[in-house]
Amino acid sequence: MTAAEMLSVAAFIDGRHAQAFPSFGSERTGAPVVAFCRIGDTAIRTREPVTEPDVVIIQDVTLLYQVDVFGGLRPAGYVLLNSTGGIADLGIGEIAEHRPPGHVTILPASELAMTHVGRPLPNAALLGGFAALTRLVSLGSVEAAIRARFADRLAQSNIAAAREAYEFVAARQQEVARA
């Protein structure tokens, strides 16, 4: 939920309209939770859940085997997964094959968070990766959204995680472009 909220703030800072909202499965840490974010150039009126996402961010890949996380994903949509594994290891080769090259990307977001923040909270890194993958928000706005959310030191460490994630994904995108 925090990631969806911060993404909406980043899009707002970019001058766009954005809406973020949760779908509470269960109110406890660790339970599967879905949160949505819409970004647009006009006021967003609808309140329905996003059923045909352009982008799916998966914070915990163990959900891949419990929930149909790719349901409704657009054919040219993006997937950003928090994992250290490969696409084949995760068993999502088919999802990747049916999408443009590079649209399904894996980012070790929890590891980046451990390095920079000291806790496995992948939100900031995933948002940095999202900015590089989709270019729907700028890295500068992601940083500003992190600064708006966290106090000084925590903001700095999360920004460092977001930057490294951005560079990590941007490098992958360049490899794909050269391939």
Binding site: M1, A4, E5, S8, V9, F12, I13, H17, A18, Q19, A20, F21, P22, S23, F24, G25, E27, P32, V33, V34, A43, I44, R45, T46, R47, E48, P49, T51, Q66, V67, D68
Partner: protein, 417 residues
């Protein structure tokens, strides 16, 4: 200033700008973020003079608000669901005593079955409590309505409930235009009570009234609600002048000119409905939306004006009265006396079920073809209901219905959206 913030935080800041002197609250989802933010503001000294009282129950929350208001303080509280039910006796007292308390209801379903998600069962249960009830369409309106609510309440000496959909609005991050303190101060003068409990000038508040005058007391309650039919639009008009945007009022019609079908609704579903109606208009359907902003008082005449030339009315509501059907529908029908048109009640979004454009589009297409049942539960899974009814026919000890139905639904964890 434009900000991207959570609905609850926006409302808490607007309430703080109204300078309440006493806030009494007991936390309950999905109201919690509002009172947490207000409690933090009071503790940080950002809202002074103000006393935040952590009470032991919702009954105490309303009782403290009543005491504070009767002593001449601007009083505020917020609740939801079972919390609202728990304070009901005091809710009726607040209106009967004529105390201008403002309360946010972060709309949530009522158990059993227990459910923390959104619908309007809670506030609808209090439609006869004598309180003014305003419903917010989005978070901008939610925060605007709170500023208007104190004006309306204090002008009429009546309490006002500002209803906003729990989670759908309270937990949604979206763009809002936060007013400045100076704007709110210029719009909302200090509270000037009609009655004050003062030891130096004793009065009795809440005197026993017998058959000789009770009817007159109740009639006065109705007359004051009718006065609100004038005050609510007047306050919304002044608000528009001060803040430069329209919010609140009695109702808002959208593309209703020349509409053969008008969809009536209140609360946050209006946004999804407007998008759906735009699609259907694009396909050549003559359809519009009538958004009710004030449910108490119910603007009978204004609703009639919008609906009088339509062929059919579809009321989409997030609560219902078991044994008859629609609650909002029954009120809408009262405005149509003598007019002939098809009327449909659609109960949607109970206990947090998402109201999607696809379902609304299907349902409205059926309505326009006059194929819709008079009372429809949107996206109802008939098999689940039939399954439980069959179990009850089969055996006397059929067991708890909620558990049976959940078992039929299957693994809940696999259906998190």
């Amino acid at each position: 200033m434009l900000e991207q913030i959570e609905g609850s935080k926006a409302v808490a800041r607007a309430v703080a700008q109204c300078r309440p002197e006493v806030i009494a609250a007991y936390p309950i989802s999905p109201q919690t973020h509002i009172v947490e933010a207000l409690s933090a503001a009071v503790k940080a000294g950002e809202l002074a003079p103000c006393e935040f009282i952590n009470v032991e129950s919702e009954f105490a929350a309303m009782s403290v608000a009543i005491g504070a208001s009767a002593a001449g303080a601007r009083a505020y509280t917020a609740t939801a669901s079972q919390g609202l039910l728990y304070m009901v006796e005091a809710v009726y007292n607040a209106s009967g005593l004529g105390l201008p308390i403002v309360m946010t209801v972060a709309n949530r379903a009522i158990g059993a079955p227990i459910n923390i998600w959104n619908d309007h069962s809670d506030s609808m249960s209090q439609r006869d409590s004598g309180w003014i009830q305003l419903y917010a369409e989005d978070n901008q309106e939610a925060l605007d309505l709170h500023i208007q609510a104190f004006r309306i309440a204090e002008e009429l000496s009546l309490p006002v409930m500002v209803c906003m959909d729990g989670f759908v609005l309270t937990h949604a991050y979206e763009r809002v235009d936060m007013p400045t303190q100076a704007q709110v101060d210029s719009f909302l003068p200090p509270y000037e009570p009609r009655q004050v409990l003062d030891p130096a000038d004793p009065v009795s508040s809440g005197a026993l009234v017998g058959p000789e005058a009770f009817t007159e007391g109740r009639d006065l309650a109705h007359v004051k609600q009718l006065q609100a039919l004038q005050v609510i639009p007047a306050v919304a008009g002044e608000f528009a002048v001060e803040f430069g945007r329209t919010s609140g009022g009695l109702l808002h019609s959208y593309r209703c000119h020349d509409a053969e079908t008008v969809v009536v609704a209140l609360g946050s579903v209006l946004g999804t409905l407007k998008d759906t109606v735009d699609e259907l208009r694009g396909a050549g359907m003559k359809i519009g939306v009538l958004g009710l902003k004030s449910f108490r008082p119910f603007p009978l005449q204004a609703v009639r004006e919008v609906l009088r030339d339509a062929k059919r009315v579809v009321v989409v509501e997030r609560a219902f009265s078991a044994g008859i059907g629609g609650i909002v529908s029954a009120n809408v029908r009262m405005s149509l006396s003598g007019l002939s048109m098809h009327g449909y009640t659609v109960v949607a979004g109970l206990g947090g079920r998402a109201i999607t454009r696809a379902s609304l589009r299907r349902m409205l297409t059926d309505a326009v073809d006059d194929r819709l049942e008079p009372l429809t539960f949107l996206d109802l899974d008939h098999r689940l209901v039939e399954g439980e009814l069959a179990r009850m026919r089969r055996q006397r000890r059929s067991g708890p219905a909620a558990e049976n139905i959940l078992r039929d639904v299957g693994a809940v964890s696999a259906r998190i959206s």
